[in-house]
């Protein structure tokens, strides 16, 4: 089933034309990754989907509903959670309070407890640290918290922006394993990554963005073999 579809998205920051007609699709159950250099429009695509910025042209459709004019906090309620770049946890709130903010849209206390249990299963470290302030966590733990916090709303679509950025190699592997695990448990994922190799490894399909346009797309396995991708994003000569 088609979960997310963007059609010809044009988004501007002031006079900067950041997205120049992005069309992409995400099927339920998939991991789809967006690759591209800095400034290609990957983050902006996620921000347009989650309602933080508005497209000037085009359409974002989620489960058949047009999201263009839905306020960001309602888009969360509809089942789209966006984990922004840069581990933006609430530093002076405890780990538990951070997670509870993730569950802000969930009104049923039983469901909140269920979701909390799932998050703690996935990240036992967060359970150990639940009464600590978010700001006292290590970088890797903070990244777990941002992902766990988003999962507290049990989204059907998770937008992840550079989850491996700035993490030690061992942690990068752990984060990608976790993303695969989250997907295996039924959450569809749209993943933005600089680490193209790791992203292509876990993704079903990928889109390559250049200066606000999709220049290439297809199954992840195929793109991994594509010569342009290998040269530009996998560091081969």
């Amino acid at each position: 089933m088609l979960l997310l579809k963007t059609e010809n998205l044009h988004t501007y920051y002031g006079h900067v034309h950041a997205l120049k007609g992005i069309s992409l699709e995400v099927e339920e159950g998939e991991i789809v990754t967006l690759l591209g250099a800095n400034g290609a429009g990957k983050s902006t695509t996620l921000r347009t989907i989650s309602g933080l910025v508005r497209p000037r042209e085009g359409e974002v459709k989620f489960k058949g509903h047009v999201l263009n004019h839905v306020p960001a906090h309602r888009i969360v309620q509809m089942g789209v959670c966006h984990v922004p770049e840069g581990r933006r946890i609430f530093t002076t709130l405890t780990v538990m309070e951070n997670l509870m903010m993730g569950a802000y849209t969930v009104k049923d206390e039983r469901v909140v407890q269920e979701n909390l249990q799932r998050v703690f299963d996935l990240f036992p470290r967060l359970a150990e640290r639940k009464n600590q302030l978010g700001g006292t966590l290590s970088g890797g733990e903070q990244q777990m918290l941002t992902i766990g916090r988003a999962l507290m709303a049990r989204p059907s679509l998770l937008l992840l922006d550079e989850p491996s950025l700035g993490l030690a190699p061992m942690l990068v592997k752990a984060i990608f394993d976790t993303i695969r695990e989250i997907n295996a448990r039924g959450t569809t994922i749209l993943l933005v990554e600089q680490n193209a190799r790791a992203a292509l490894k876990i993704a079903h399909r990928a889109y390559v963005l250049e200066t606000g346009r999709v220049v290439l797309s297809g199954p992840a396995q195929e793109l991994m073999q594509d010569e342009r991708v290998r040269k530009a994003y996998l560091g081969e000569r």
Binding site: L52, R74, V76, R88, F90, L93, M100, Y104, A150
Partner: protein, 302 residues
């Protein structure tokens, strides 16, 4: 010793006023990084609405005395809270993405408007609250240390309100959302928090408390005029900075400390020198703790 205790009790009473008003400054600063200069005006309007409310209720109740105070307090809180929400909606929200200077000018504008309105509606002369509402009895809690009934009421009401606010902000879901919004608007939206609604809630609570403080101050001193908001507003603002602006326990602590320093200065040195003493101490505190007593890293944003 008795004199010191007596001065401390008087100081804490004044400090409770500052603290109640300082909470409004600090909560708004927390979520919007805006110094809400209109807050002193809202506080002053609390005194005027309380005056009208009391006079009307005393007529309706045919001299019911102290019974009129409680319903008037509720009317004051509700009215000033609604004005607070209106001010945010009309004067601040449209400027939210306009940088930091424009909203401050807008806040100053609202402050002048509130003050002019008060002067035009109620006149420039001193207004006095009906007397004899609260019996003037004093209780001697220790030899030579007396607490008036009025002081006791002020202290009990203020501390209950502050405790309730503290529990609300630190123990409830909406209170936690307020602290989240204070840290990061964008991420709060991504949590599904309606940021506009949280900000409106802050403008309901801050001015509600501030308005009630205005009525209590007027009851305590008996008379006031339209400049009430400047003097108290400024001192409450200073209390908020002293405690660490954006920090709720800080506002309470800052208010208490300012009230106590002022009273001790007036009592032990001389009333004419109390402001000099109080502000020399304040400047010293800020030199050693520029972010305020309980503040973290926020002062540079001023």
């Amino acid at each position: 010793m008795q004199q010191l205790l007596q001065q401390l009790i008087n100081g804490i009473t004044i400090g409770a006023f500052y603290a109640l008003v300082a909470l409004g400054y600090t909560m708004v600063y927390g979520v919007l990084k805006l110094i809400n200069f209109a807050h002193g005006g809202l506080f002053m309007w609390g005194a005027y609405v309380g005056l009208t409310g009391l006079n009307v209720l005393l007529v309706l109740l045919a001299g019911g005395g102290a019974v009129a105070i409680f319903p008037t307090a509720v009317i004051v809180m509700v009215t000033i809270a609604m004005v607070g929400v209106l001010v945010e909606r009309v004067a601040y929200r449209p400027l939210r993405s306009a940088g930091r200077l424009a909203p401050i000018i807008s806040a100053l504008g609202v402050a002048f408007i509130l003050e002019s309105l008060a002067r035009n509606v109620y006149g420039a002369s001193y207004k006095t609250y009906p007397t004899g509402l609260i019996p003037v009895g004093r209780v001697e809690i220790l030899q030579g240390v007396r607490v008036s009934l009025m002081q006791a009421i002020v202290l009990i009401v203020s501390f209950l309100l502050m405790a309730a606010l503290y529990l609300f902000v630190y123990r409830t879901r909406i209170g936690t959302a307020m602290r989240a919004v204070a840290l990061d608007h964008e991420v709060s939206r991504l949590m599904g928090i309606d940021v506009d609604r949280i900000i409106a809630t802050v403008f309901l609570i801050g001015p509600g408390l501030g308005g009630l403080a205005g009525m209590i101050v007027a009851l305590y001193y008996g008379s006031f005029d339209f400049t009430l908001g400047w003097i108290f507003g400024l001192k409450a603002f200073i209390s908020a900075i002293l405690g660490g602006i954006g920090n709720i326990p800080g506002a309470m602590l800052g208010g208490m400390i300012l009230g106590i320093i002022e009273t001790l200065g007036a009592g032990y040195v001389s009333p004419q020198w109390k402001d000099v003493i109080a502000y020399v101490i304040l400047i010293l505190i800020l030199i050693f703790r520029p972010t305020g007593l309980l503040g973290e890293r926020v002062a540079e944003k001023l």
